[in-house]
Assembly symmetry: D3
Homo-oligomer: 248 residues x 6
Amino acid sequence: MRLQLRTWPEVETYLKTSRGIIMPIGSTEQHGPNGLIGTDAICAEHIAWGVGEATGALVAPNIGVGMAAHHMEFAGTMTLRPSTLMLVIRDYVTALAEHGFQRFLFVNGHGGNIATVRAAFQEIHAELRAAWGPSAPDIRCKVISWWENESVHKLSRELFGASEGSHATPSEVSVVQYLYPGHIKTAPLDPPTAPSSMFYDARDYRRRFPDGRIGSNPGLATPEHGKRLYDAAVAALADKYCAFVNEE
Amino acid sequence: MRLQLRTWPEVETYLKTSRGIIMPIGSTEQHGPNGLIGTDAICAEHIAWGVGEATGALVAPNIGVGMAAHHMEFAGTMTLRPSTLMLVIRDYVTALAEHGFQRFLFVNGHGGNIATVRAAFQEIHAELRAAWGPSAPDIRCKVISWWENESVHKLSRELFGASEGSHATPSEVSVVQYLYPGHIKTAPLDPPTAPSSMFYDARDYRRRFPDGRIGSNPGLATPEHGKRLYDAAVAALADKYCAFVNEE
Amino acid sequence: MRLQLRTWPEVETYLKTSRGIIMPIGSTEQHGPNGLIGTDAICAEHIAWGVGEATGALVAPNIGVGMAAHHMEFAGTMTLRPSTLMLVIRDYVTALAEHGFQRFLFVNGHGGNIATVRAAFQEIHAELRAAWGPSAPDIRCKVISWWENESVHKLSRELFGASEGSHATPSEVSVVQYLYPGHIKTAPLDPPTAPSSMFYDARDYRRRFPDGRIGSNPGLATPEHGKRLYDAAVAALADKYCAFVNEE
Amino acid sequence: MRLQLRTWPEVETYLKTSRGIIMPIGSTEQHGPNGLIGTDAICAEHIAWGVGEATGALVAPNIGVGMAAHHMEFAGTMTLRPSTLMLVIRDYVTALAEHGFQRFLFVNGHGGNIATVRAAFQEIHAELRAAWGPSAPDIRCKVISWWENESVHKLSRELFGASEGSHATPSEVSVVQYLYPGHIKTAPLDPPTAPSSMFYDARDYRRRFPDGRIGSNPGLATPEHGKRLYDAAVAALADKYCAFVNEE
Amino acid sequence: MRLQLRTWPEVETYLKTSRGIIMPIGSTEQHGPNGLIGTDAICAEHIAWGVGEATGALVAPNIGVGMAAHHMEFAGTMTLRPSTLMLVIRDYVTALAEHGFQRFLFVNGHGGNIATVRAAFQEIHAELRAAWGPSAPDIRCKVISWWENESVHKLSRELFGASEGSHATPSEVSVVQYLYPGHIKTAPLDPPTAPSSMFYDARDYRRRFPDGRIGSNPGLATPEHGKRLYDAAVAALADKYCAFVNEE
Amino acid sequence: MRLQLRTWPEVETYLKTSRGIIMPIGSTEQHGPNGLIGTDAICAEHIAWGVGEATGALVAPNIGVGMAAHHMEFAGTMTLRPSTLMLVIRDYVTALAEHGFQRFLFVNGHGGNIATVRAAFQEIHAELRAAWGPSAPDIRCKVISWWENESVHKLSRELFGASEGSHATPSEVSVVQYLYPGHIKTAPLDPPTAPSSMFYDARDYRRRFPDGRIGSNPGLATPEHGKRLYDAAVAALADKYCAFVNEE
Ligand code: NI
Ligand code: NI
Ligand code: NI
Ligand code: NI
Ligand code: NI
Ligand code: NI
């Protein structure tokens, strides 16, 4: 049910019975010595596709580069400025809203996106109100990260305990290993579990987390764990999507 | 050689021997009754991956939503405003340039992107010069559409002749059929070959081209044709990439 | 220790021993039938002043209008677009950074600001890096809402229990009653404790929360409670400020 | 009659009989060796409050940081870029206009704001016209500096003669001494009356005016003079406000 | 001495002895029943050329469309938004500054431009400072309207007295008649001298000034008067230019 | 038929019978050792005037500074950033559209403008659609460079053959010599015909084309050739204008 794999008459038909759409958003940023740079983009996109399968919902194209300014001291990281990402989200949502979409569930793969995504939602509301006043379309946008639900949370704690950490986690690395089994990387992780703290800008990040990981031991990742996490995430988000589009 | 399937230390290693990267850019827009909405995004992304395989070059994440304002009267079309797309390109290029990338070959899947992409290149040069003066990095950006080469041109003429047209072409539909054989659509095409002319805005476009096609008969598309076109495009662009990064 | 009540030579002297500054940010938005429109602005500004007294830190001028687009269906609410607020924060921080300030603790009075404030911090980092590269100043920005600490949290639960709610709370109304005893308002609150849920845009907000409150009974507010909350907030934030500026 | 000290139902009531509002705008910038950095912000805000008291008009929150780029070589000065300040004014006015406010009298405390404020007014008209065409709201914006009236002008000439100067004037310093008697500063002023000329950017400003003053001797300031000037300004602006809102 | 009539080697030579340049800026807006829409653009450009001849200074291309939002209810008026005009001025000045120009005298033909032009100058200073800090180029920008000098002022009072008015004045119409004798228009002017007042937006302007003039009787214009005014303006501005570029 | 030489009532009358207007756009950039910096601006403007004469169409004021970032290493070149030029075009078109103009033929003098101009057209369509939806005005914009027609093409090939080149061409230099016979420059051209290739940014341009020319020998230019080219261009574009405004 990827939008990109439909024709325009099919979308026209879809809109007769549904106003909802799933919007994957990830990031392209370092994920430690053995995590793929596309980890967040891949998780968001594939989990969104899974939710689309499970619910019959359309899935928009992925926003594969997010807000990762704080990872920029590691080679290969890409980032949109928050102001750019806000415009991208504005354009995605308003384009789809022209066709009649009104319920946008953003399936997020990167914690660093959330502030900007939420700011973007308010920017959209403000712009539509400025242009249309009381006749602005009734747009509802919501963002949920794929791990923000009880079942994934419980599972990752069970599988990895305190070694889950918060960046380059064994959970997300597992999901990617499950999805891209041909691209499993091994690399020395020293120390096995990375240090953990908050951080400020990109230089500060690199100083605190020299190999890019925060608090995690992604050496524990396996494709099997990944499958379980993936399935749990899809199921949980499918429920959330249905609740969202049926909300009054 | 997708950037997203690498780790940051692998990218660091890559940069020791190459400063080049391939940047796919497509569009998410109506492609007539039997063409997928993702046609341009899919072509650009997969051909870029092919070029990456052929040359050993890294391939950045796809810009899957382009400038398609003129298709907005057809359900499911998405578009970035030109001003947004310019910022996206600016952010992609400058992020990668921070790591040392300096040669950016944009593999394009949508004619409607080109003006904005070229404007973006100049905006990047102007911004870098404003910030850095004579010590600005030596960035080179180039955009080539995948059909802009003698071999693809010849092949599509041979296969489809005057029915190639200029939007929702049998060539691009064939390539997508080859890449996504599970999503081949059939739909009545009336007339078989669509009318052809230039156009202005989205309403004008719809008025002139009621089913979205321009001058094309995508009913002639087959996955077999698609494979030939795909291979021809990859080979031609691989040559162009090598020439580009080796240019003085 | 308000910056505005100092002279420039005094600030020059201050900078010899400290690089820290406190940045109050509030909002000007409806706070239900008996809450002042300036509630969030007043709380943020006065608590910031208290923290300045307690720590000897300078306090910048208040950002008194924040991001309150979702309250716009109630008369008197003001809002900056997220994109505007980001520029304001950028300008505040970069102006002060030119003089040598490097540690910016935003004392926040409005939950609706947080996403935009965090996006602004990343925008600042990205802009400085674009302009200055590795020689960009070592800026650290942090935002804490005045109720985000154990002592205020405990106290408000003790004083108001489940009637605290999340907008137009008896806690914030109490603090304002303490600070502006001449402007205590009484108004019927029906039901005494307002309904609670999440919400989307301004129209949706008004539909769900007809008098503007969310989950709260601000009829329980008293100036005496306000004093206790104010003192607790100042003490907690003073500790946090000291930890922040002394962090390595 | 500060907007921030009202509730939303009170504002709703106010709008039944008036469409006018007072908008203070100042600056946070060096004011010489003995003038407070907040001089312009304090004058604008307090005089606006006085006008509100005198006329029953609502007073919006202060824009306390203005356009002071030319003072940036003095520690503690803050500034918004003109483009940012224009957006702030746009957001303030359009937010209030949504509720029905239509007459905006900006009470200004800083000469350096005026060009940007006037440009902002035209930007607002242009934006509203672009969005609404002939049905745009009938907004009127006007800016008056508090010293731009015969009575203040005469009084400051009488009190300070040629030592009034044009920045860090004894008049504005007096008003602040009257309003903040606990923050009267003394500092050597050498020469007693500062040099006077026009100027270009911040470096040029500092070169010409090493201690920040232009043409003034703020050593002549007293709180008593400040009270007289304050009262004169409030009375004059109250008249102007009434004329403004009653204009056809 | 128009820049556009020089070659690049000639400009390179010029820059060896001068850092100054004249920047004409006008407007394309209604000028009443018998005034040309290009009045302000023509006056600014031709007077700038005259000053260039008199002083040997280079003259940049005219900014022929200015900020005329308030004239938009009259057919043919064009306007840049203030925010656009600021960017245009930013680009003109920074482009020329890259080559070494540092003294920019804007010869203005339209009062409505001044606020925006001044805001633009500060924006330029702020941007350059943000990008370059203490090593920003020493740019000086100044704007003078062609009638802002004693000799033109005296002459127009002598020629037209109270019928000069403030828009579509007999002075500016005369200058244009002198410069474009083949385009002298006659039209009934009723009343001969137009009403005069201040105004707000474009609708308000049209309501107050139904034929576009403010306070003027352009029926008094003659090409002979125009020549005298033109010569006076050129002479006065030539003096001002010399003083400006020689200022320390 | 220059708009600037008309009065507003004349424009009102014009609009009763025509919705078309001609929009010249050039550039102010180096044109080699003997080409004027204003070459592109002059050609566009004068040819547009010629077309106006031939067709009775109004001609808007010239956009005399275009997108010439790649020429910035040569003294005297001016450029707008693409993002600025897009706003200028947006403001020009939307201002004129308010009066009822709907057909905008941009007569272009500089190849480097085209990408940005085309991006601007799409930006305009997108903005109008966002603001007005289905009731947006039916705007049509088209850009044609003055040499993009069979008769000019043939003539320049006949006159200059392979020495025409692509920048600082004998054709454009001839046209300017015809229009400004008092400003014909002579300068050594070494080699007579300049090298030719594509190029990237400004530094790369200067490195490849040390005197600014690309592939041309402007030493072949004569005013007589210029007259023939000018006449051919005017005739060809007059036809194109008529076809454009009469298109359904
Ligand atoms: Ni991740
Ligand atoms: Ni296509
Ligand atoms: Ni609150
Ligand atoms: Ni002041
Ligand atoms: Ni005029
Ligand atoms: Ni040219």
